[in-house]
Symmetry: none
Subunit: 218 residues, 2 copies
């Protein structure tokens, strides 16, 4: 799941990014209204978290523009509660849900999940492929009942691969979802991490499909 966070306040943006990544989302951050609009137009995001107060272009204007251009990305709006703008304004302009600052992180998460649930089925508690098991909640991976310790990046990569076992997944897609990197990023980093995983999980668990990508053996 890819999220776009549009927030100019650096601390809050960083906190959101870290928190949501910990929940397994790929998170991009835009710091200004125009940058956010651009990103929303071009990137394949599953939802956007949008501050109202933004330099360059307000959150309201941003959503209105987006909707006028026929983009129906789910939008969760954040705003300071001290008057001026209120909730009705937020919903009027085309946002799907609305939260006033200061808000609690769990509420944001709950609202976000509700937003994403439209169409997206709830994931299973534990992913299993062959003798490999991955438990997202416990952040645990076992291979033939033996625990395997993975770094955050390794875990994210395996997590992504295990959701589509047997299917070939391109490096670009992996860069996009696991690293949420730009197109210019060298794909070598994927190769490096596939190497790390192979060392920990066994040589032939991850198959290379030359010129295309990688496949998790079923």
């Amino acid at each position: 799941m890819r999220l776009l966070v549009v927030e100019d306040e650096a601390r809050l943006a960083a906190a959101l990014q870290r928190g949501l990544r910990a929940e397994g989302f790929a998170v991009d951050v835009a710091r200004t209204g125009p940058a956010g609009l651009d990103a929303a137009r071009h990137g394949g995001y599953d939802a956007m978290i949008l501050d109202v107060m933004l330099p360059g272009l307000s959150g309201y204007e941003l959503v209105r523009t987006l909707r006028a251009e026929q983009h129906w990305l789910p939008v969760l709006m954040l705003s300071a509660k001290d008057g001026e703008y209120d909730q009705a304004d937020g919903l009027d302009c085309g946002a799907d849900d609305y939260l006033t600052k200061p808000f609690s992180y769990v509420v944001l998460l709950a609202r976000l999940r509700a937003l994403l649930r439209r169409g997206a089925p709830e994931r299973p508690a534990v992913l299993a492929v062959g003798d490999l098991r991955l438990d997202p909640a416990r952040r645990r991976v076992t291979r033939a009942d033996a625990e395997v310790t993975l770094t955050a990046r390794e875990f994210a990569l395996l997590n992504y691969l295990m959701r589509r076992p047997g299917q070939v997944i391109s490096k670009i897609e992996l860069l996009d979802h696991v690293w949420n990197a730009s197109l210019e990023t060298a794909p070598n980093i994927v190769e490096v991490y596939v190497g790390y995983l192979r060392r920990k999980l066994g040589r032939d668990r991850l198959e290379t499909v030359r010129g295309v990508g990688y496949r998790l053996a079923m």
Copy 2:
């Protein structure tokens, strides 16, 4: 889902009743401590929302009594934020979650849902993980039958962690529930308190999951 609201202030009680009914809950209201205790004892409620300041019997006493009688109904506690009672007290006495007035309705709803999702069918009187035991009612912790003295904050933190042993819990979630802090709060305070707990409970009881959070070893 049946809820019991124990709140003496008529306006708030009515607002809660109306709001929660609109969400599809069946809601009963009790106006005094003793009435609330009676209702909680006899009715098959799925959760209770409980004010601290009550005529006849305080919310704290009510929960303590209930727990002493082996009732494990999930309790969401409400309290005025202006001192006297504080959050640690609330968590200490056996409540499952805690909200300071004034609170937003959506926050209450989110917390309530989380509480119900977690469910609390037959929770033991004392939480036990490994050789660690924590008694919420008595506010006591023992490790291998030796008593460990914790400060209020340390206790609240351990209490929260022990309700989901083996699961990774993010710093943000801990900040949210144990500190009632906003997103901008520096997560370092969590690290500090995990450090304190480690010193008192043993080094490897609390596992760090880098970039994600902490996990209580099972």
